[in-house]
């Protein structure tokens, strides 16, 4: 078939890199979504003035290239003597970065919930928090899901940038193999396929949820 020096051991090496990519993505999406939901709910509810400081921070996180954020954060944490591992720095910065995008997705979802529906919830005696948890956020979720799936896939690919902190994730693993085996096209094809295999189930899960919810609409 093909002539390649790629061995099973190299494939396992790539799989380990993929494991790191998945781990960082999982942490960033989990904490980014939690934080982003809180930020988004706050922004949807508070006046523009009260939300201004938060909006500014989130704007910075969204507009400065992630690579710069990662390298600066890594440098500052070491100057400040936090002693964080590159993995921790990557998780913290990617979580914040994710939360900045997620906040806007959540805010848009909440604002799409008709005011009269929220009034109905409050008029039944529900507190603000009960309305949020039982009515507004579940309804907002339906609007926000496609955007959130897109964000998750984007973050998964953005994790490749953490290789600049010396973390050997999927892309860095493939580069190491390329350097050693001198088969760039073949190895990049395999690496691309692995990224696809990770993304595909996430995208499909989103499509399925949407289809299930649409049945009730």
């Amino acid at each position: 078939m093909f002539d390649t020096a790629l061995t099973l051991k190299d494939l396992i090496f790539l799989a380990k890199g993929a494991g790191i990519t998945l781990a960082i993505t999982a942490v960033a999406v989990l904490f980014g979504t939690l934080l982003g939901t809180i930020f988004g709910a706050f922004k949807a509810q508070a006046s523009a003035l009260a939300a201004a400081p938060l909006t500014f921070v989130l704007d910075v996180l969204r507009s400065v290239p992630l690579l710069i954020q990662l390298i600066l954060a890594n440098a500052f944490q070491s100057i400040a003597g936090f002693g964080w591992s590159p993995f921790t720095v990557a998780c913290v910065m990617l979580s914040l970065y994710t939360s900045a995008y997620c906040a806007e997705i959540v805010r848009g979802g909440i604002e799409a919930v008709p005011a009269v529906t929220r009034r109905a919830a409050r008029s039944l005696g529900m507190t603000w928090a009960q309305d949020m948890a039982n009515v507004t956020l579940p309804m907002a979720l339906r609007v926000a899901l496609p955007g959130w799936i897109g964000l998750t896939l984007g973050v998964m690919k953005d994790t490749a940038l953490v290789l600049w902190l010396g973390i050997i994730e999927l892309l860095r693993s493939s580069q190491i193999l390329v350097t050693r085996l001198q088969e760039p096209l073949f190895i990049l094809m395999i690496t691309g396929a692995i990224y696809f295999l990770i993304s595909f189930p996430i995208a499909r899960m989103g499509g399925r949820l949407e289809a299930r919810w649409r049945e009730n609409d």
Binding site: P114, V116, T117, R119, A120, A121, R122, S123, L124, G125, M126, T127, Q130, N134, V135, P138, M139, R142, W213, N216, D217
Partner: protein, 240 residues
């Protein structure tokens, strides 16, 4: 008893209520009629504290609604309200729509809440729609569900804000029948409505709103047959 004393309410520079006073006794059915923009609907959302007021006072069973110390969430448990626009919780089944507040607000068990919900949904004629999502309901069924949802909290008062105005004409009857049923059972109700025949049949008193004030109030016989003010007569003539 709901006591409305000299209530004033503005949206920005626009004053919608200009000193409204009215008293609704327990067991009474009061309908509010009047042209669009006369402040009728706004009054209802002030009664349960959804809207702040700029002057005057509203008390419900002695509790001052707009007193900052009033626990509005608690107060709202005894004042049900149904709006003109459909407002089902679309992600929940009809049964879940009705059980949500009893479970979350009153802390009822699922079984107890289900029992009340089934009772109320049967009452409004939706016993066969328990497991259906609201999107599968007609407008009239959605409004009846909203009524059952409010009734499930066992309110002492029910406020209806033009609940038939968004409905196709052939669906109006079923919702009005539900309101008639409630009135016949002795529920205290304030209904903002454009349905004059309904107002005439069910009301103990009818209030005619005009330009942010109660222009005339009285029994249906007084208002519909012998209105004192020319504006009331003119409105009723145009409405027929």
């Amino acid at each position: 008893m709901i006591e409305i004393e000299n209530v004033r309410k503005s949206f920005g520079p626009l004053e919608v209520l200009k000193g409204v006073s009215m008293r609704v006794e327990k067991g009474e059915v009061v309908t509010v009629i009047g042209g669009s923009g006369s402040g009728k609907s706004t009054l209802l959302t002030c009664i349960n504290g959804l809207e702040p007021i700029q002057g005057g006072r509203i008390t419900v069973d002695g509790t001052v609604v707009h007193d900052p110390k009033t626990d509005l969430n608690k107060l709202r448990q005894k004042i049900g309200i149904v709006f003109q626009q459909f407002n089902a919780f679309p992600h929940l089944t009809v049964l879940e729509n009705v059980t949500l507040a009893p479970r979350k607000v009153l802390g009822m068990s699922r079984e107890a809440a289900d029992e009340i919900a089934v009772k109320q949904l049967s009452h409004v004629g939706l016993a066969d729609k328990l497991m259906v999502y609201p999107s599968r309901l007609s407008g009239g069924q959605q409004q009846r569900m909203a009524i059952a949802r409010a009734l499930a909290m066992s309110p002492d008062y029910m406020l209806f804000d033009e609940v038939t105005s968004a409905l196709d004409p052939q669906l109006v009857g079923e919702v009005l029948d539900t309101l008639r049923l409630l009135a016949s059972e002795g529920m205290t109700m304030i209904c903002v409505t454009h349905e004059m025949r309904f107002a005439r049949e069910v009301s103990d008193r009818v209030a005619f709103f005009r330009e942010g004030l109660i222009h005339e109030i009285g029994t249906p016989a007084q208002i519909f047959e012998a209105p004192e003010k020319p504006e009331t007569a003119a409105f009723l003539k145009a409405a027929h």
